[in-house]
């Protein structure tokens, strides 16, 4: 299904299963709802209503020229939540999607039942993709990608060409990189006020790993789990990640 955010950008939204609502957000540039659709979402959908959407400019959502800052993208999530449910939701986010989920949870504590942050970059300048895409050579950009996507690029096939076209749009024709470079950290005192149970999952080989330790230290009751893998944990460790999320959500 497709519907417009409050600022008129059309989002591609998909629902699986039935039960208490779980909304899952993907990361930037190479992410879209398939991050979850082909990994944890079908499993969670056995007992939950899983809501997935492509962030603006990603997947099958509209290629918006602007609005990639945390504020505006949290507004997009707010549009999705208001449109689809009155119940408190479980929010799951990967990478920048985790930052959006966190921001929503801090602003709308009554609407979030539980929060799962996977590889949330704090401050956002920790984002590996962002650093590689802003400052890196083409080789470094490729190195920042998960193996499967790097292979798609190098294959010379249609999938790689379409992936490259999507990234080219976001990196060169939208305000995404500029918006991200001005993104600010969430201060400890705000994190400490988080009102819902938090699961933080980080990869043992990720540059974001220290953020997990910070969340565990600052957020009362936070549960930190480290899994073998890098920043792209939903692809690096899909089974283990699904298991740890399911346990937390069902507890």
């Amino acid at each position: 299904m497709r519907f417009a955010t409050d600022d008129g950008v059309e989002l591609h939204v998909e629902e699986l299963g039935a039960g208490p609502p779980v909304i899952m957000l993907h990361g930037l540039l190479v992410g879209n709802m398939t991050t979850w659709y082909f990994t944890a979402a079908p499993d969670l959908a056995r007992t939950h209503r899983v809501i997935l959407f492509d962030l603006r400019g990603h997947g099958l959502s509209e290629r918006a020229p602007t609005g990639y800052d945390v504020d505006r993208m949290t507004g997009d999530l707010t549009s999705v939540v208001h449109r689809l449910t009155d119940e408190p939701v479980v929010l799951v986010g990967h990478s920048y999607g985790a930052l959006i989920a966190l921001t929503f949870a801090l602003r709308h504590p009554d609407r979030v039942r539980k929060l799962v942050l996977i590889e949330a970059p704090l401050p956002p300048s920790r984002l590996e993709e962002l650093r590689a895409f802003m400052y890196g050579s083409p080789d470094e950009m490729l190195e920042a990608l998960p193996d499967a996507l790097r292979d798609a690029f190098r294959s010379g096939r249609r999938q790689g060409a379409r992936l490259a076209d999507g990234i080219r749009f976001l990196a060169r024709e939208s305000s995404l990189l500029r918006d991200l470079s001005s993104a600010e950290d969430v201060p400890d005192e705000e994190l400490a006020a988080l009102g819902c149970p938090l699961l933080a999952v980080y990869g043992t080989q990720s540059s974001c790993r220290p953020v997990g330790a910070r969340l565990e230290r600052v957020v009362p009751g936070a549960l930190l789990v480290e899994l073998g893998g890098g920043h792209f944990l939903p692809l690096d460790a899909p089974r283990a990640l699904t298991d740890v999320m399911t346990r937390f959500i069902d507890a």
Binding site: F38, A41, R46, G59, L60, Q159
Partner: protein, 99 residues
């Protein structure tokens, strides 16, 4: 209940795949039971999601593609052939409706 034959479902899936790809070359690309979504049609994973949406619109929720995908890992999904999807749809279609 109006059960569809394999041949009918293959016809439906062929039309839906062409709609999802929505590019000139796809209008008359040959699609058969042994056609691979990833290797032959070079379908992107997000296009597979779009195809799943078309399938649900066409056949209803009792063709639970997401539930089927949950039984496979990503590599398996990406190596799927058109015929496997067609057979799955025919199988669901032959089950009694639950809603």
């Amino acid at each position: 209940m109006n059960r569809r034959t394999e041949k009918e479902v293959l016809g439906d899936v062929t039309r839906m795949v062409r709609e999802v790809i929505a590019e000139e070359w796809a209008k008359d690309v040959a699609i058969a039971m042994e056609t691979s979504f990833a290797k032959d049609l070079e379908l992107e994973s997000i296009e597979f999601v779009a195809l799943a949406e078309h399938i649900r619109a066409e056949y209803g929720k009792h063709v639970n593609l997401a539930g089927w995908l949950a039984t496979m890992d990503l590599e398996h999904i990406l190596s799927l052939r058109v015929g496997q999807l067609v057979e799955f749809i025919v199988r669901c279609d032959s089950l009694p409706m639950t809603e």
